[in-house]
């Protein structure tokens, strides 16, 4: 009897929980003391209205509709969900390098484990999206993606956008088993791959032209044959259709490497190059100049030495780690690491996003700490906060969805009890697409 009762209670609890989880469409109104919109300044004593997973309205004059769940954050700071642009969440480091040096067609999404347990801990620090990219042992390692921390059963459930960039690397000192990959070879090998892609595209264009010509001729012949037939009906027996039959051009083999690089050359996908030393950074900039591609500089350890040149070309930088302490074993390329790098680049007008670039997936939880450390080293407070929200969203082409608190964007919202850059600030609540995914007990 007792057990029966227990089963009933458990069953009803279970049903209740599924019902709550299912009600994603619940309307939420957050009454906030400070709304740090990132894109439009600070709104004091405002309201954020969330409907269907999106931000429906925000401001001081917003009317709370009947039936909306009101969350009181009057003495709190409300900010867009934080983004770690150099994350290892959902993926295992050792699995991120292919033995081939040039393999831009590999997709990080194929290495994603949505069940990874560190997700909850990172989420609890206000991170709602991460950029994951292939490792740095190859020259062109593959495609990166932006993933949300909402959790799910497949990679598709958590992906915000795939193909955000092709990850490349120049001047990485660690040995690679597959080829020599010396520094001298790095730049020229990437360049070679891009030149080959140009040839490949020419061949494809030529094939397309020839094919169009062939189709045209074929159609003409068909038309001719028709008239011939009509003439044949009239008694003319000399058929011209059989003569000079057009030959179908040979189709060039589709090459997945060049297919992806063609999209890089077409400015559809940016090329994200990890470079540390000044010469490597300058080589990456040369590639961008020569091929007129969209370059993103990754790590950019010695960027502070050539900040003017980076700023002039308007190349965005994902600076990180802010301190080599976040690395397991700082490799040789970090020799001239300077904690002021992000601050100097930012002051020179470079668009700077910050990444933790930590030792494992759980390290992404330190993104707000990394931004605070950037401030200690001279970065402007607003620029630092932008560098972990809107700037990475802009760099990876997802600013229409995340990165700031604006009407129409995803309701990825974090409530902090203090300013997010205060070391002791605690996350009270996290919403992803309008759903409460974390609440502090």
């Amino acid at each position: 009897m007792v057990s029966c009762k227990h089963i009933f209670i458990l069953l009803s609890l279970f049903l209740l929980s599924t019902v709550t989880a299912g009600s994603a469409a619940e309307n939420i109104a957050i009454r906030a003391g400070n709304i740090l919109t990132i894109s439009g300044g600070v709104i004091e004593n405002g309201i954020i209205l969330v409907e269907d997973g999106k931000i429906k309205a925000l401001g001081q004059e917003v009317v709370v509709p009947d039936g909306a769940r009101v969350i009181d954050a009057k003495d709190k700071y409300v900010v867009p969900g934080l983004v770690d642009a150099q994350s290892r969440l959902y993926v295992i480091d050792g699995e991120l390098n292919e033995s081939r040096a040039v393999a831009p067609e590999l997709d990080i999404l194929d290495a994603v484990d949505p069940f990874i347990k560190e997700r909850q801990e990172v989420l609890a620090q206000g991170v709602t999206a991460v950029c994951v990219a292939p490792g740095n042992r190859g020259l062109l390692g593959g495609l990166g993606a932006i993933l949300k921390l909402s959790g799910g059963k497949t990679a598709k459930d958590i992906v915000l956008r795939t193909n955000v960039a092709v990850k490349g690397a120049i001047g990485i000192s660690r040995s690679n088993q597959s080829s020599s990959l010396t520094r001298l070879e790095n730049y020229s090998s990437i360049r070679e791959a891009l030149l080959e892609t140009q040839t490949y595209m020419q061949q494809k264009r030529k094939y397309d032209q020839e094919l169009a010509e062939y189709e045209k001729k074929k159609a003409e012949k068909k038309e001719q044959a028709k008239t011939d037939d009509q003439q044949a009906d009239k008694g003319d027996t000399t058929s011209r259709a059989a003569k000079d039959k057009p030959t179908r051009p040979a189709k060039p083999r589709t090459n997945p490497t060049y297919e992806i690089l063609a999209r890089v050359l077409g400015k559809e996908i940016p090329l994200q190059i990890e470079a540390h030393r000044v010469d490597d950074i300058l080589n990456a900039l040369r590639l961008a100049d020569e091929f007129d591609l969209r370059l993103i500089l990754d790590k950019c350890t010695e960027g502070y030495k050539v900040a003017d040149q980076i700023a002039r070309r308007k190349v965005p930088v994902i600076a990180g780690p802010i301190s080599t302490s976040f690395l397991d074993t700082p490799a040789l390329e970090y020799r001239n690491h300077d904690t002021r790098n992000a601050a100097i680049l930012s002051k020179k007008g470079v668009k700077v996003a910050l990444g933790v670039a930590g030792r494992d997936g759980a390290s992404s939880k330190f993104i707000a700490l990394a931004a605070a450390m950037a401030v200690a080293n001279g970065m402007d407070r607003h620029a630092a906060l932008r560098a972990i929200t809107l700037t990475p969203a802009e760099i990876f082409g997802v600013a229409d969805r995340i990165g700031s608190l604006e009407v129409g964007k995803d309701a990825d919202v974090v409530i902090f009890n203090r300013h997010p850059l205060d070391a002791f600030s605690q996350v009270e609540m996290v919403l992803i697409e309008g759903k409460i995914v974390y609440e502090r007990k």
């Binding site: 560190e118 801990e121 609890a124 301190s323 080599t324 302490s325 976040f326 700082p330 040789l332 020799r335 904690t339 930590g358 030792r359 494992d360 759980a362 390290s363 939880k365 330190f366 700490l369 605070a372 450390m373 401030v375 200690a376 080293n377 001279g378 407070r381 850059l421 205060d422 070391a423 002791f424």
Partner: protein, 396 residues
């Protein structure tokens, strides 16, 4: 190399060391002059924080601290109304100035037992990381050998170069480092197993117990001082089994011991507390899981005295404070986080009579920060060693 050559070389090194200390830039030249610093907030550490406080420095020593003090005549006054001032930070375990990028130079991998080595002999005061270290806010460090020798070398306590002549080496032989971590196990020399490691440490300590004075056995001679309680032993260990082994050795030989690393020490914190064994905790920056990050708070809550270490260059010297802030964020009481950077470290290293707090009579080793010491956004504005300004952030 003959013995006399070695002696000559050591003398040479000492000369270089003292020369570099003398030649270091003394920016303000305030050494002999009376210096008064007026700061927005003074953190004496041993007492509560003083808003709009004054620190008076004479001849490299602190002579007065307080809110309403008479300013001595002719004193140079530094007005810093929006800054915070605290004692120079003390790094409980690092490898500064010992090698460029790798640990290769601090690991004696041929011989497993080398207590007669002195790590100071490998210290390069002109190394790039030493000169860079001045802007970290750390003013005193414990220099330690590596992690691969069960019984490694004698550690040294030194002030960072940059001050007056009497700065520099505080203690050339501040203790012997033991390693009971798995790093000490190697495939090509003893010990190769955990029991083998403990047996070897016992063997060496037993041998030292039987050491007769006058016999030539420099290793036993040093270890005898350790088992007599004259020389502290810093035992590196991380996992619970490693820490338990350390406690067994400490009990058995009644060692004056400090635990270094101690990642999982929260599991057996009471055992350390009841024995009054202090610990120098590993850099919390090396941790990333919440479970690990919360450990150090629990260790301190159990009554164990905790100080911090950077293991520099493993983590940056400037991240010593970051480690304490992360520890505090994950549960360590903020006042203990500050003590771990200063007075607790000084007590554990046996230098608390001179360093670790802002009190009259102590060395004027101070850090001036742009804000609260436990905020990551606060940067180091100025560093003072023995009353001399050795680092000042460049003005825009």
């Amino acid at each position: 190399m003959s013995g006399s050559d070695a002696v000559t070389e050591r003398k040479l090194l000492l000369t270089i060391l003292s020369l570099s200390l003398c030649a270091a830039p003394v920016m303000a030249g305030a050494g002999q002059q009376t210096l008064v610093i007026k700061a927005g907030k003074v953190w004496p550490i041993t007492g509560s924080a003083i808003t709009n406080g004054l620190v008076v420095i004479e001849n490299g020593k602190i002579t007065a601290v307080g809110a309403n003090l008479a300013i001595p005549e002719g004193a140079k006054i530094l007005e810093m109304p929006d800054k915070h001032i605290m004692p120079g930070l003390i790094d409980g375990h690092c490898h500064l100035g010992l090698s460029l990028d790798v640990f290769a130079e601090i690991e004696e991998t041929v011989s497993a037992v080398t207590p007669d080595m002195q790590i100071l002999d490998a210290f390069n005061p002109l190394a790039a990381d030493v000169t860079k270290a001045l802007r970290s806010g750390v003013t005193t460090v414990l220099l330690a050998p590596g992690y691969k020798n069960p019984i490694a070398a004698q550690m040294a306590v030194v002030k960072l170069p940059g001050g007056k002549k009497d700065a520099g080496v505080i203690n050339r032989s501040a203790g012997v480092k033991f390693s009971l971590g798995n790093e000490a196990l190697m495939s090509d020399r003893r010990p190769t197993s955990r029991p083998g490691l403990i047996a070897q440490v016992r063997e060496e300590l037993n041998k030292a117990g039987q050491y007769q004075e006058g016999k030539f056995d420099p290793r036993a001679e040093i270890l005898k001082r350790a088992i007599q309680g004259q020389l502290p032993v810093h035992i590196y260990c991380n996992a619970v089994d490693e820490i338990l082994a350390a406690i067994i050795i400490i009990d058995e030989y009644k060692l004056k011991a400090v635990i270094v690393g101690a990642r999982e020490a929260d599991e057996i914190a009471e055992m350390l507390a009841e024995r009054n064994i202090p610990l120098i905790y590993m850099p919390t920056l090396l941790l990333s899981n919440d479970k690990d990050l919360k450990r150090v708070g629990r260790i301190a809550a159990a009554g164990v005295k905790v100080a911090f270490a950077s293991y520099a260059p493993r983590t940056n010297l400037s991240d010593l404070r970051t480690s304490a802030i992360i520890a505090a964020k994950y549960g360590l009481a903020p006042e203990l986080a500050l003590k771990g950077l200063t007075i607790n470290a000084a007590e554990i290293l046996g230098i608390a009579q001179r360093l670790g707090s802002i009190e009259p009579g102590k060395d004027a080793d101070l850090v001036i920060l742009s804000g609260d010491p436990l905020e990551l956004t606060s940067g180091v504005e100025m560093v003072i060693i023995n009353g001399d300004i050795v680092y000042q952030k460049e003005q825009k």
